[in-house]
C-alpha cells in the first residue's frame, strides 16, 4: 500500500478518474432506487458530509493545517444558496456555483491569515471563526432570518423523471452529484504537481521553499479549495434539508467534521468516505443502542452521547490511523511495504521534522503512510 516514494507520472489520471466518477454515479443512482425514502435522505446527508470532509482532509492531512472552523464555511455556502434560491429564485446549479465562489472568497481571507499561524494558534483562530461567524445571523436578522434562519422550498425534480419521483431520492441525486464533483476535483488535485507541492510544504517548509515553492501561496490555495468544498457541502445541505439556520452550524459541527476526517483516516479520500458514513451512522447506532435498554430518563437521554464519546476515544487508541489505516493494515501483505516502514522510522531531518510535527495537524512521516496515498 505504501509504495517507495518516487515521482509518478500522471498516467491519464484525468480520464480514468472521470470514468470512475461516471461509473460511481450510475451505481449510486441504482442504489438510491433500492433504498427507502428515509435512507435516501441519509445517503444525501452522507454525500454532503463527504464533500466537506474531502476538502478538510486535503487541508489537514495533505497540507498540514488544522481547521476547527469548517462548519462556519459550510454556513457561508448554505446561506448563499438559501438567499439566492429563496429570495432571488435562482435555479439550483447557479446557486451552488455561487456558494462555491463565496466560500472560496472567505477561504482566501482565512487562508491568508492562516499562513502566518501554526498549530494551536491556527486552531484557535479557526475556532473563534466557527463560533463568531454564525453570530452574523443574529446581528442582521432581516437579511439572515435571525435565530430562526431561512427556509426554502424543496427542489423540484425535472419532469422527465416522472411525477412520483420521491423528493428524498432527488435530493440524494443532487447531493451525490455534488459529492462526485468534489471527488473528481480533489483526486486530481492531489495527484497533480500541486498536490505533491502541498505535501512537500507540509513535510519541510524550508526545504520546499528552497526548491522554489511559494509556501504561503500553496497554503492559501489549500484553504481556498477546502473552503470551496465546504461551501458546496453547505449549499447541498440547504437543498437537502431546505434550511439555513445558525443552530445548524454550531461549533459542534466543526468539531464533528474534524473527528470524521481523523476517524475515517486522515489524508485519504477513502477515509473521507468512511468519515462521512460514520458521521451519518454513528449517531443513529448509538441512539438505537441506548433505547434497546430501559434505563432512567437521565441515563437514556445521555447514553447516545456517552457512546459517541467512548467510540472516539477507543477508535483513536486502537486505530490511530483511522478506519482507512486499519483497513489498509488488514490488507497489507506485501513484505516490501513492511520493510519500507521499518526503514523510515528514524527521522531524516531533525529540526525540520520537529517543526513540521509541531505545526501540522496530520500524521508525521515516520509513522503515517496514508497521507501520501490519496485514493
Amino acid at each position: 500500500m505504501r509504495l517507495p516514494s518516487r515521482i509518478r507520472p500522471p498516467r491519464l489520471t484525468l480520464a480514468r478518474s472521470l470514468g470512475f466518477v461516471l461509473l460511481a454515479a450510475v451505481v449510486l443512482a441504482l442504489v438510491s432506487e433500492a433504498l427507502s425514502s428515509y435512507n435516501d435522505l441519509q445517503l444525501a446527508n452522507g454525500a454532503y458530509y463527504f464533500a466537506v470532509l474531502a476538502g478538510l482532509t486535503l487541508l489537514t492531512g495533505l497540507s498540514g493545517q488544522i481547521s476547527l472552523g469548517h462548519g462556519a464555511l459550510m454556513a457561508v455556502g448554505a446561506y448563499t444558496v438559501a438567499l439566492l434560491i429563496g429570495n432571488e429564485h435562482w435555479p439550483v446549479l447557479p446557486a451552488l456555483i455561487a456558494a462555491v465562489l463565496t466560500s472560496a472568497v472567505v477561504g482566501v481571507l482565512v487562508g491568508a491569515a492562516a499562513t502566518r499561524l501554526r498549530g494551536p494558534y491556527l486552531a484557535g483562530v479557526t475556532l473563534a471563526f466557527a463560533v463568531g461567524l454564525p453570530a452574523l445571523a443574529g446581528k442582521y436578522p432581516s437579511t439572515f432570518g435571525g435565530a430562526n434562519g431561512l427556509v426554502i422550498n424543496p427542489p423540484t425534480s425535472p419532469s422527465w423523471l416522472g411525477q412520483s419521483f420521491p423528493l428524498e431520492r432527488w435530493e440524494a441525486w443532487i447531493a451525490c452529484a455534488g459529492a462526485l464533483v468534489v471527488l473528481f476535483a480533489i483526486y486530481n488535485l492531489v495527484h497533480s504537481a500541486v498536490g505533491r507541492s502541498l505535501q512537500a510544504v507540509r513535510d519541510d517548509e524550508i526545504a520546499a521553499s528552497l526548491c522554489g515553492l511559494r509556501v504561503a501561496r500553496l497554503q492559501t490555495l489549500a484553504f481556498v479549495v477546502s473552503a470551496a468544498c465546504a461551501g458546496l457541502a453547505g449549499g447541498l445541505l440547504t437543498l437537502v434539508l431546505q434550511l439555513a439556520a445558525p443552530g445548524a452550524f454550531t461549533l459542534g459541527l466543526s468539531l464533528a467534521l474534524l473527528t470524521g476526517v481523523v476517524l475515517g483516516g486522515l489524508g485519504s479520500i477513502l477515509g473521507a468516505i468512511w468519515g462521512a458514513a460514520l458521521l451519518v451512522l454513528l449517531p443513529i447506532w448509538s441512539n438505537d443502542i441506548a433505547h434497546a435498554f430501559s434505563f432512567s430518563t437521565n441515563v437514556t437521554n445521555n447514553l447516545p452521547l456517552a457512546i459517541y464519546g467512548l467510540v472516539l476515544i477507543l477508535a483513536m487508541l486502537l486505530w490511530p490511523s483511522g478506519l482507512q489505516g486499519a483497513l489498509g493494515l488488514l490488507g497489507l501483505r506485501v513484505s516490501t511495504s513492511l520493510k519500507n516502514r521499518a526503514s523510515t522510522r528514524y527521522p531524516v531531518g531533525g529540526a525540520g521534522q520537529e517543526r513540521a510535527a509541531a505545526r501540522r495537524g496530520g500524521a508525521s512521516p515516520p509513522q503515517g503512510r496514508e497521507e501520501e496515498e490519496v485514493r
Partner: protein, 430 residues
Amino acid sequence: MSGKRTVRVVGCVCVATIALIAGGCGSKGNSTGVSSTSVTFGTHQPLTGPAAPGYSEIAPASVAFFEYLNAQGGIYGRKIHLIIKDDVYNPTQTVNVVHGLVLNEKIFGIFEGLGTPTHTKVVSFLNTEKVPDLFVASGCPCWDNGTAQPYTFGWQPNYTIEGKILGQYIKQHFASSKVGVFYQNDDFGKGGLTGIRDELPASQIVSAQPYEPGITNVAPQISSIKASGAKVLVDFTVPIYTALGQLASFTLGYKPQLVSSSVGIDPTTVGGLLKTFSKGKAGTELIEGAITDGYLPSVGEVSNPWIALFKKVHDTYDSSAPFDGNVEYGMAAAYTLAQALQLAGKNLTREGVVKALNEKGAQLTGPGLVPYRYSTSDHGGYAGAQMGQVKGGVITQFGPRLITTPEASSPITTYTTPQAAPPTTGVSVP
C-alpha cells in the same frame, strides 16, 4: 487508479449501502401509526445540549399523563404512545429525526414539537405528507395560519399576546414609570417586545436590551437598563437568563419591579438556580413580588382540582422530575391531545383529527384558564392569560382572565366562563 483499488472502492460502497439499509430496517406497526388498540405519536425535543434545561422535562411528563390514560383503557380503547427523539435544538437534527419518525417509525402524527428554529424546518414536510402536527411547543405566530398549513396547530399563547397582556397591566398600574425590557434575541423575545410596544407609548420604554443564549455575561445589558432609570423591568427570558439577570441586578443594587413572561418565571426552576444566593431554601427571594401571566393554573395552587390531578399523575408516573411548570405544561398538552383524539371519534384518521380541531377545537375546555383560538383559518393556541404574582415562592393568580389576538391594536377582552373541573376518568369533550 488500479483495478484492484476500483474493486475495493466499489466493495466499500456496497458495504456502506448494506449498512444504510440495515440501519433503516425494522419499521414496525401498520401504515399510519394507528390500530384498534394503539395510536403512536412522535416528537422532537432537546433532551441534551444547552437548550435541554427545563424543556427536557416536558415530553416525559406528557408520557406520564398518557400512561395514566392508558391505564384506564386509553381513548376509544386505543393506548397513546409517544416516541421522543433528541434533536439537541439543532434544526439539521430536527429534520432528520422527523423524517425518520414519519418515514421509518410511521407515526400517526407529530405532537409537541419543541422550538421555533427547529420546528419551522419541518412544517412544510409535515403538511406535504399530510401528517398531523399538533400543539407545537412554541409561541411563535408561525403556526397560526390554518389555511396555508392545515395540519399544523399551535398550543401555547403567542408571545405577542403575552406581551400585550403584560403591557396592559403596566399601563394600568405603572403608567408613570420608565420601563426597560430584557429579552432573548429571537422570535420569543422580539415577539414579546412587539406586544409590549403595542400597549405602551414609545417614550415610556427607555431601554430594550437583547441577550444571546450562550453568552452568560448579561451584566452589561442589566447595567444599561439600570443606567436608563427604568423602574419596571420586563423580562422575556428563559429561566437561566431570568436568574442571571437577577444576579446582575443584585450586584448593582438595582431593584426594579419585575414583570416576566410565563416562560421564564417558574419559581421552582428559577428558585433552584438562585438557591445558594438567598438565605431562604427556596431561592425565590430575588423574584419575590414579580408580576407574570399564566394560561394554566399556578402549580402552587394546591386546591385547584387540575393541579391535584396532575400531581397525582406525576407522583405515580413521573416522580423523578420536580413538580414544576414544565411538567404541568407537558401534562396539559397531553390532555389536549387526548381530547383531540376523543373528538375525532372511534374511526381515527389523520384528516379526522384535523377536521375535529377545526370544527370543535375552540369549544374545548380543560386545564387552561382561557379558550383556544382554533378554527379552520386560525390554528393559534390559547387566546390569552391571567395575571399572577410570585408570593411566598409560588405564583398566585389574580384578576380577570384576558384574551386577545396578536394583531396590533386588537382589543384585550375579558373571558368570564369559569374553569371546568377535570373529569374523574378519561377526558371530557363538548
